[in-house]
């Protein structure tokens, strides 16, 4: 691993370890339990990486219960330790070496450790993966931006991680669209106008099309608000609204700020739905493309967002192989999600570990002007590969895909259908050609023929308004 010396070391200026080191003096006043936590964590630090991992669980639980600054500084410190602990394994610097393939946003990298192979091919696999990883747009907590609408929030620290994760996924969709999957961050300025243009759109002000300010505004009716946590379904709906609003708003002006592709949130109706595995409907996608193209009946690029809940309390493990496989699709944009309460941008997988970009790092807001091709963009890239066990992922998540054209969409559909066949009856989502017109078909023989056209949900709330108790809410 000597060929890649920078990886384990985070950028020093924004390193939360610095904050963490300052924490003990302030934490001494913040309660006995915190001290105990600190002690137990420190003892874990000096044992195995696995127990560090467990300890991190504790710390995030602590964070959600007591989000005051003392415990926050500690939890961030602990988080960093936890991440470092698991990074060792990934980097092959500990005993747990692995040479399994990495799948990262639809691309396969063959990694190896020094001990297993000295061939230059494998080394270049490592380097190529890192170059790809660090070219992705990394969007984090920021502080020091203009207050969000009428709130006093000038920072999204401790609440904005789902918004930030979703921005990373959509930024990747835009990179994919404008620059291609094989684009890498150039080492020299001036940068391309497309790249700077994309970063500009994710700036932290109302003037930037896809800013946290505008997302929260668009997502109001889904419960998005400054200071509030949000789930992936609500986040996808907020994007849908924002893209739609921007489209109307900018129609008369110019294409700037317009989302350059159709957006399909694969989910049921807003008011009611059947709630099973979501259904990608080809006709709906075609209609969205048609609308995007203002009724010229050609296909357009399309972003699919599939919000899911994959288990009641924790992720049902039967979904893990399916989730992994979505990251092998060439259309993959990764996954919004992470450990309970902490959303990340999961963009890759290796064995039973998810590889992700972490928004939980506080950086100062920067303003990247759309035409400044010399702008400093280092705060939008991260070369620290973090990983977490797939079975620790919270069941609430959203998967993204980008399909460039009709052929690409068809390819996506055939891959998705193959994945349904592998799902043993419980797919993540399914693909159909058209909306199935008939929701309810009575069994002629046993039906009483009362002519209802849907299952009468009046009885569901237990009010007993229907004579027959066919469904009952417990």
């Amino acid at each position: 691993m000597t060929s890649l010396p920078g990886r384990g070391v985070s950028p020093s200026s924004s390193d939360p370890l610095c904050e963490g080191n300052a924490a003990p003096s302030s934490s001494s006043s913040s309660g006995q339990d915190l001290k105990q936590l600190k002690n137990s964590i420190l003892s874990c630090v000096f044992s195995s990486p696995f127990s560090i991992f467990e300890a991190h669980q504790d710390s995030s639980a602590n964070r959600s219960l007591k989000p005051h600054s003392g415990s926050y500084a500690w939890s961030r410190f602990l988080r960093r330790i936890a991440c470092t602990g698991s990074m060792w394994r990934f980097l092959g610097a500990s005993k747990a070496l692995t040479s399994s393939d990495v799948w990262f946003l639809g691309k396969c990298y063959k990694l190896s450790s020094e001990e297993l192979s000295n061939s230059s091919d494998c080394e270049s696999g490592n380097a190529a993966f890192l170059e790809d990883f660090s070219s992705r747009i990394w969007i984090t907590y920021r502080k020091g931006f203009d207050a969000i609408s009428d709130s006093k929030y000038t920072s999204d620290v401790n609440w904005g991680c789902m918004v930030r994760s979703s921005q990373m996924l959509v930024a990747q969709a835009l990179i994919f669209h404008h620059l291609g999957r094989s684009w890498r961050k150039p080492s020299q300025k001036p940068y391309s106008p497309e790249y700077i243009g994309i970063l500009h759109m994710f700036g932290d002000s109302e003037a930037c099309a896809f800013s946290i300010h505008n997302l929260l505004q668009a997502g109001k009716s889904y419960g998005l608000a400054a200071g509030s946590w949000v789930g992936p379904y609500a986040m996808c709906r907020a994007w849908q609204t924002l893209v739609c609003t921007n489209r109307e708003h900018h129609e008369a002006v110019d294409g700037n700020g317009n989302f350059p592709m159709a957006l399909y949130v694969v989910s049921g109706d807003e008011d009611g739905e059947r709630g099973g595995a979501p259904v990608v409907c080809i006709d709906v996608a075609a209609q969205l493309c048609c609308d995007f193209n203002k009724n010229q009946s050609t296909w357009s690029p399309i972003l699919l967002l599939v919000p899911l809940v994959l288990g009641l309390d924790k992720l049902n493990p039967r979904y893990i192989p399916l989730l992994k496989e979505t990251l092998t699709f060439p259309q993959s944009l990764g996954i919004l999600g992470g450990k309970p309460g902490t959303s990340t941008y999961i963009a890759g997988v290796q064995d039973d570990r998810a590889l992700y970009l972490d928004p939980h790092e506080v950086q100062l807001a920067v303003d990247i002007a759309a035409d400044n091709l010399e702008a400093g963009t280092s705060s939008y890239h991260c070369s620290t590969v973090r990983d977490l066990a797939l079975d620790l992922i919270d069941p609430s998540l959203a998967i993204g895909f980008y399909c460039r054209d009709k052929d690409d969409f068809d390819d996506f559909c055939s891959r998705a259908s193959e994945l349904v066949d592998k799902a043993n009856g419980a797919p993540l989502f399914t693909v159909v050609q058209s909306v199935q017109p008939s929701k309810q078909m009575y069994n002629e023989e046993s039906s009483s023929g009362d002519g209802m056209d849907s299952i009468n949900v009046e009885g569901l709330d237990g009010s007993g308004e229907t004579g027959e108790e066919e469904w009952q809410i417990l």
């Binding site: 609440w159 946590w229 419980a426 046993s446």
Partner: protein, 87 residues
Amino acid sequence: MEERRKEKGKEGRRGKATGHSVDKFSRSNLPEMEKRKLHLPPGTALFVFVNNTLPQTAQLMGSVYESYKDEGDGFLYLCYSSEKTFG
């Protein structure tokens, strides 16, 4: 057996179908649920679980019932869940 808990918390609600109703609707897909009936505001996530998995929307109730009915009481138990939040 975890799914059989009676829970009315905001994370999940549970419903059940009798053998009679499944008979009648055995060739129907999953029922469409109105969110307001589940005390969910419009625009919130709603997912249904049978045996801790998402049933396929196109699946017929009859086959879901046959696969997952409770052996003890003959009911098919469905759990409804919204989503978790992150920060």
